[in-house]
Symmetry: C2
């Protein structure tokens, strides 16, 4: 079915049913995305103040066959938030729906509207001595509706799971404008198909999330952080195993860092403190949260001693204060900025079965070396099997000379990921960037089921057209 | 669309493509369910030996428009495993697909076929010093395909989640006979709609799960168990909060027990040991699994002392040996058998937001008292907000005299559950028993979406016809 443009006649239809305050003037951020790959379009921009206004908007767009691009914080990295092609869409921003509707500390739940910013959710939970553990670099801008729509991950997935694991219920407007009232605060609810998990990760192509019941967790009694230099990725995995045998789910983050990232940091951001004199070839950043009665620093020292004894680790530092913990995380969190300043030819957000990670790292390095004299920065959430695997030009050269090679590099690496049972998108999603990857690497039966579900729930194809699934030929 | 019967001509079509060994003679268990509410039908019974044979079977059934009832361990309590009405279906048993295809201890994953029995999965994990934490009373009979299809819960949901939270990937045959190869062993994989969670909990109405990638966990370094008598349900919740502030996610089970259940036990199963001289009005059974360096019994004694100090608990026992731990769980696990021997008029598997539990228990008791001189046994997984709330005749009377009252009692209780934001099916599912409840209490937008999804993925309506969603008028 052909989409219609969000033109003045369509705007007039909306204006007849929505208050004037719901309309937004065009501003650049509504049609941009962080990496500047696409320029979006916006025929009309609406920022509803309530779920009912979202429903009205979708009902009118559905009747008119106008595309709708839901817009949260705009921080997505795969172009899910901009529609560069086809008839100009309606951009639907959740920026005015930011309330914490309810907070239930004793049941570890919280009801928030989709436009709430992640760091505000952190603050609200902390105010009740609770933790909403999902955290990521864009926390000051990202909105929870977008975080859920993309099933975002971040640094605490090892212990607490992805966005979907921290959501108990949703309120959403379906493509025809009906409201699904599914804000359950229940740990168990086996009453029909799992619509919640279908909308989570659908990247706005099946409806608009307007509010969510989030799961909170108690703040751990004590937390600790350490950086340990490990022999190699195999040793890193063995150390993770050792840490979990000791502390179980108390291990909340387990990040791997390659020397290349630390070299880039020294070069581009020399003020960022690095605790070890010599950047180790491989190191891991470990975060633990432990019950009362255990000293986190002591537990990490025990782990270090056992890892040293077993020949897995050879150097390291256990933070002895909050300032030292912050400094270790500060180093980890500046690695992407170092990358940006060097300038990557190609970036990859991949996941692998934990057991295949060392194999991937070995074969990936060999494969890239065969393709050219590139530098590799491999880092990420080892505990989740999630690597950010970025390719850089040789020292002293600009990436511009190599940009044409990017597709061949990515294809070769993604082929290896697929061979090892991994994923070409661990936490960033498909958006518009990886529609072709999904078609190439995705299971055909799953793709057919996805298309059938899309047609069933959004028969006019108005929701985020071209994201996740290619626009039908019109 | 009208279904066709699984008649001799259909059997002949199957026999042309399946080996003779795939066919099963009729046996009573294929058409029975544990509570004897329904008598199923079976035109043909097939037990494929491989995913390919499942695919062949579904392809032929799809072409013929013959209903297919997937059959696991047959332990479901809501009639999802039997089709009593309509043209006789094909019963598809997973009993021959029981292999552990792979076990990866270092990555805490395991690939099993759908027919594997839960206790065999426990044993295989234990053999690798790992834990598959989902456990329930029927573990010696229930098969993992059915456990996933119904998103089963059990006693460790508080810490480890439901079946869906312990599954990383699936292999399944979709209604038209295509195979979805989705056995990913990944913690993060944002590549399209969440088909895994859609099939989990769909009770066999959207396809047949043939294998699963399960998440395992490290065995906790130390485990402990205690029974504490609490002032009332409010005090039980406050004690849970206290326990989690102390031990975080180390609290793996938190079960509430009302005196009525212990009285029934003394009456019907006097050999089951009860540790406290006088059955307390309310008590909680607490299980913890803690990191190395903490003594679980000591931690539970600390909790008891703090709970006592705060006026929440007034009596209790902390197990000092594995035998004492087993005895406490033995008592808890015999409560359903005590109920069966007394004979309930009506049983309910309900979930409530944690904060609403005390309110439900107060108002539920008042509401039942208004309806008649009934006895209530209220027990269950308090930490998950999941109560088993069963209604019994007055002492000395038979339930037969009151059976006609059951629907009115259940409707009144389920109305209260709905008013408080709860669920009429926490862990048992909808099956055929609660189709009417789903229509009555379910959100209309969600129901419409479910019907659209069912039509899209199973246009001929062959998969488990009449379960979850009512059979269309033919």
């Amino acid at each position: 079915m052909t989409l219609a443009p969000a033109d003045p006649a369509f705007r007039a239809r909306l204006a007849a049913e929505l208050p004037a305050s719901a309309f937004r003037e065009p501003a650049p951020h509504y049609v941009e995305e962080p990496r500047g790959r696409w320029q979006g379009q916006a025929g009309v921009i609406v920022a509803p103040a309530s779920t009912e206004e979202v429903a009205t908007t979708l009902r009118i767009a559905h009747a008119a066959g106008v595309g709708v691009v839901p817009y949260g914080g705009g921080t997505g990295l795969v172009g899910g938030q901009v529609m560069p092609e086809g008839p100009a869409p309606l951009v639907l921003s959740l920026e005015r729906m930011t309330r914490v509707r309810a907070l239930h500390p004793s049941e570890n739940t919280m009801i928030v509207e989709a436009g709430a910013i992640l760091s505000d959710i952190h603050d609200a939970a902390a105010g009740a001595d609770r933790l909403y553990p999902l955290s990521l670099a864009a926390k000051g801008t990202a909105r929870i509706g977008g975080i859920l729509s993309t099933n975002a991950g971040g640094v605490n997935v090892l212990r607490y799971g992805n966005a979907r694991d921290l959501c108990l219920g949703l309120e959403a407007v379906l493509p025809d404008g009906t409201i699904w009232h599914g804000l359950k605060r229940l740990r168990k609810d086996n009453t029909g198909y799992d619509l919640r998990n279908l909308l989570i990760g659908a990247e706005g192509t099946l409806g608009v999330i307007t509010a969510a019941a989030l799961r909170l967790v108690p703040v751990p009694a004590g937390e600790g952080t350490a950086l340990m230099a490990v022999r190699d990725p195999d040793a890193a995995l063995a150390l993770l195993d050792m840490a979990q045998a000791q502390m179980g789910s108390g291990v909340s983050a387990f990040e791997i860092i390659h020397r290349q990232g630390l070299d880039f940091l020294r070069q581009t951001l020399p003020d960022v403190r690095q605790p070890l004199d010599e950047p180790p070839e491989w190191s891991v950043l470990i975060e633990v949260g432990l019950p009362r009665g255990l000293d986190p620093a002591e537990a990490l020292e025990t782990l270090f001693a056992e890892g040293f004894e077993a020949g897995l680790v050879h150097d390291g530092v256990v933070a002895q204060s909050q300032a030292q913990r912050d400094a270790l995380w500060d180093m980890r969190e500046h690695i992407p900025e170092g990358n940006r300043r060097i300038g990557a030819i190609a970036s990859h957000d991949i996941a692998l079965p934990l057991g295949e990670l060392p194999e991937f790292i070995r074969r990936g390095a060999a494969l890239v070396a065969d393709l050219g004299p590139y530098r590799i920065n491999c880092f990420g959430h080892l505990g989740d099997g999630n690597l950010h695997y970025n390719i850089f030009p040789p020292e002293g050269e600009s990436r511009d000379a190599y940009r044409a090679e990017a597709p061949a590099i990515s294809r070769a690496l993604h082929d290896l990921v697929a061979e090892l049972g991994g994923s070409f998108s661990a936490e960033h999603g498909v958006g518009r960037l990886k529609v072709g990857d999904l078609e190439h690497y995705g299971d055909p039966a799953k793709l057919a089921a996805m298309r059938a579900i899309k047609s069933a729930l959004d028969p006019r194809g108005i929701m985020n057209p071209g994201a996740v699934l290619r626009l039908p030929e019109s």
